[in-house]
Amino acid sequence: MYFGLSEEQSFFQDNVRKYLEEYATIDNIKHIANGDEKNLSAEIHQGLLNLGINALLIPEEFGGLGLDLLFAAVVSEALGGGVGPIPFIAPYVMAPTAIKHAGSKTQQENYLSKIATNEYRFGVGFTEFIGKRNDAGITFSDHSLNGRAMFVLDANDATHLLLADEKGQIFVVDAKSSNIEIVKLTTVDKTRQYSEVICKNLEAELLENSSDSINPINQAIDAGRIMLAADSLGASQTMIDKAVDYAKERKQFGRAIGSFQAVKHMCAEMAADLEPCYALVWHAAHCHDHSPAEARLMACHAKAHVSEMAKGIAKKATEVHGGMGFTDLLGLHYWFKRIGLNRQILGSPELVREEAYKTQV
């Protein structure tokens, strides 16, 4: 029995972490957020592609590394820790998972092998299957899609998109089609991309095994949720580390603020809240591949619980920094906002907990 990360997983995670420390410096993150260095994000992305992040979940028969979701989770954790300004969850986790479960053999071959070689990059828009807001929604008839998908992940530089209708059918569409309009949404989190996608008689290919089962889309959503939980886990740990370091250095009233019990207890609470989240996220990722009966429940709870803990940590860690925490200069807000987005994307805690309940009746 071994509950934890393998040497390979820790090693890979370290590599991603070190890479981000070197290239996704706070100055670079600022440039990317302000939109004044167009190529920087692509360069950082390329560096991580060189490590193989696109091929983690692709089966070996299609040229990938054939690793399990826990491997992707530790990468996601590192990306959250360094507010990695690159697409990851949609193109390299949700899309491969969806295609693996929903695609026919031919579709798997067509798409998975090209994700592995980085010829194809997918954005993913499943929001309306989880919770349809206002007049959004996609309908399918006559081999084409009409309607609007909101909060499509990583659509901007994508070659293809996966979109879903309310029934959970999954479609592949060409992101460069003239029948598609991709509108950039500006959120508080400027480290990642979110879009609105409008389809007008857009030609679409149905992933065959999603026509009569919602299992494939749920698999992809579960995987995405575990990644978001892992991202928030990493982001929260960084915020705690920064708060603790700051509290040891900063002096007021003639002593380090970290010696005031009010500050100390905020830090202890953050650590106590976060520590069990490691095990929950790892366990959920493990169940996703190896324990189908618990998989959905674990994924939902990982997403909801880590979101709740992370929200509290984002607030307290900012407070420990006093006025500095509130500044753009320090840049702590990038982590605060990333945690904020992770909480809402693919289902806010209340929605996800309701799904957790439904797996038990």
Binding site: M1, K264, A272, W282, H305, R353, E354, A356, Y357
Partner: protein, 407 residues
């Protein structure tokens, strides 16, 4: 990640299951007057608590790694088997072994630091449930600041003479023995002047006054010592080393206060209750606000259960960094259990306030009782605030509180 225990353990699990089946519904001939164990079930075999303890030991389901010569089973320490035993008993309708401060704290301490004579004299009767212990640490002026304790021990000839007062001493009124912290070196610095003594509770000069706690049970006591004389050899460790001995036992206590599997059993019980009880004609579980609160807590408990697996794995595979992971257990475990029991009261509303033998009481009033009981555990064994100090200072390396003159 590998959550399989392997074939040997599957076999072992089956053995434990069939043992539990055999003794299903076991009840005790000596009733529920013993405060340290479950009150047993009904419809199954009958025996005394002590016989049950012995049966469990013979089969290796209790005191598994305690050497035979001291009354244990004499098996190899096997963390997975211990976990399987605990898990299977908690799933079954068969009472587990007795717990309490003697079994959970004193026995491990003696095994680690006791003399051969002490091990021979005390471990066996303690394991058999025939010798109950209380923990004499806290005093009226030494609670969180335990090391400031003042109960005095003087070596006169070959006897310790003890004078002073302990308070909050759980189960003292039922106990045969007390493991007690006493200041024996008045001139040494605070932490270096304490010794760990073993005091028979029937020694002349001991007066016990039960204290009723908020659950309306006499859960703890005041214990007064007036010229209490015990043999000089009733000391664990050396003179003045009691603080280190005590800290070893505190570690044993903190891990065992609120195991997440037990909390998950209560979550499942609450889910069941919410399906049975109705509000405005609808089961409680169908009221979205209550349902969401239950799901919130279920998520927290799942996180703690997964965390417990991580800590278990760290015991099996030394080297994993779980320093903070261990420190948070007492804080998070007791707080969560208290929160869960409180949720049950909230979902029941007015019915949740019924107590003792009231009509309409649900689940024997356990929700209300445990809600209060766990507030006691949040305070006892190092308060939540003290736990946070420990996490911050020893876990996160934050600066210590500046020293106050004379403290």
């Amino acid at each position: 990640m590998d959550l399989e225990y392997g074939p040997e353990y599957q076999e072992f699990t089956k053995e434990v299951q069939s043992f539990c089946k055999k003794y299903e519904g076991l009840s005790f001939t000596d009733g529920s007057n013993n405060p340290l164990g479950s009150s047993g079930g009904s419809g199954g075999p009958k025996m005394s608590r002590s016989e049950w303890q012995k049966t469990l030991i013979e089969n290796g389901y209790f005191a598994r790694s305690v050497p035979k010569e001291y009354g244990g089973y004499g098996g190899e320490a096997d963390i997975l088997k211990s976990r399987i035993i605990a898990a299977e008993f908690s799933k079954s309708n068969t009472p587990g072994p007795m717990g309490g401060q003697g079994i959970d704290m004193l026995v491990p301490t003696l095994l680690e630091m006791g003399t051969k004579e002490q091990k021979e004299a005390y471990i066996k009767p303690t394991l058999h449930g025939e010798m109950i212990w209380c923990q004499g640490y806290s005093e009226p002026n030494a609670g969180s600041d335990l090391a400031s304790l003042q109960t005095k021990g003087e070596l006169v000839g070959d006897e310790w003479v003890i004078n002073g007062q302990k308070i909050w001493t759980s189960t003292a009124q039922y106990s045969q023995m007390c493991f007690c912290l006493v200041r024996t070196e008045p001139d040494a610095p605070k932490h270096a002047g304490i010794s760990y003594l073993l005091i028979p509770m029937d020694t002349p000069g001991i007066e016990i006054r039960p204290l009723v706690d908020m659950t309306l049970k006499a859960g703890f006591n005041e214990v007064f010592f007036t010229d209490v004389k015990i043999p000089a050899s009733n000391i664990v460790g050396k003179r003045g080393e009691g603080w280190a001995v005590a800290n070893a036992t505190l570690g044993h206590e903190r891990g065992s206060l609120a195991p997440p599997d037990a909390t998950m059993n209560r979550v499942n019980m609450l889910m069941h209750l919410m399906k049975e009880e109705t509000l405005d004609g609808k089961p409680l579980i169908e009221h979205p606000i209550y349902r969401d609160r239950l799901m919130q807590i279920q998520g927290k408990v799942l996180a703690q259960q997964s965390h417990a697996l991580r800590l278990l794995s760290a015991k099996l595979n030394p080297g994993a960094d779980v320093k903070i992971g261990k420190m948070i257990q007492k804080l998070t475990g007791t707080e969560l259990r208290h929160e869960l029991e409180g949720l049950a009261i909230d979902v029941m509303g007015e019915i949740g306030t019924l107590y003792e033998n009231s009509p309409h009481l649900k689940n024997d009033g356990t929700w209300q009782f445990i809600y209060m009981y766990f507030l006691g555990l949040i305070i006892g064994g190092g308060t939540s605030q003290i736990q946070k100090n420990i996490i911050a200072e020893r876990g996160l390396g934050m600066p210590k509180e500046p020293k106050v003159e004379g403290a």
